[in-house]
């Protein structure tokens, strides 16, 4: 596609529910990142994929967070047993190569946990 696509755009979950957030990166982009952005803050790194390999998951806040990219394209971020503190915008970004260069961001999924 023309850009990074994320779905759903908005997600409301009851505390304790599991959620799955989808990211469709730009076709052919090797690198894929997930970021979490709390209200009024800058994005914080969650995890990084190079093709299908998850090379860095140091930013995942707990073992309730899980991400995958099984075929090296679409990625899913799953949050189990959601808590109120998980409420945030989840941003996906991709780049063409695993080098220092600009990232292309999706519009994000705004997650609200009630």
């Amino acid at each position: 596609g023309a850009g990074v696509s994320q779905s759903p755009r908005y997600k409301v979950a009851k505390r304790g529910q599991d959620v799955a957030l989808r990211c469709d990166p730009i076709s052919g982009h090797v690198s894929l990142f997930w970021y979490q952005q709390a209200l009024g803050q800058g994005p914080e790194f969650l995890t990084y994929f190079q093709n299908e390999a998850q090379l860095d998951k140091s930013g995942l806040p707990s073992d309730r967070f899980f991400a995958e990219r099984p075929e090296g394209s679409v990625s899913t971020l799953k949050i189990q047993r959601t808590q109120q503190e998980d409420s945030a915008v989840y941003l996906c970004a991709s780049s063409k190569r695993p080098k220092n260069e600009k990232l292309f961001f999706g519009s994000g999924t705004q997650l609200s946990v009630l």
Partner: protein
């Protein structure tokens, strides 16, 4: 955790004026980037400056980098109402072993409001 701080947190100016935002960071970097975020949208890349560069221009944007002070500034000249957005600096550091895959660490952002 956030890499550093941006200053000011909020900036309000009139159309046609220049806007200057500053960013400080803590660790050695490979490059520093600036992004813009309109309300409710994703981030859009504006400009990238490498650690061996001191100044870079792109249209109405001018970025400076001072690695000795671990700081950068973004200047937007002749601002327009459409420039109203949040602006973030982001740094890419070298991983241990000298490799890097482009992980960015963002600042807290500056909210710019340009009044018509």
């Amino acid at each position: 955790s956030q890499q550093g701080e941006e200053d000011p947190q909020a900036l309000s100016i009139q159309e046609g004026e220049n806007a200057t935002m500053n960013c400080s960071y803590k660790t050695s970097i490979n490059n520093l980037q600036w992004y813009r975020q309109n309300s409710g949208r994703g981030l859009v890349h504006l400009i990238l400056i490498r650690s061996n560069e001191r100044e870079k221009h792109s249209g109405r944007l001018r970025v400076t980098l001072d690695t000795s002070k671990k700081s950068s500034s973004l200047l937007i000249t002749a601002s327009r109402a459409a420039d109203t957005a949040s602006y973030f600096c982001a740094t890419a550091s070298e991983n241990a072993g000298g490799t890097s895959y482009g992980k960015l660490t963002f600042g807290q952002g500056t909210i710019l409001t340009v009044h018509p």
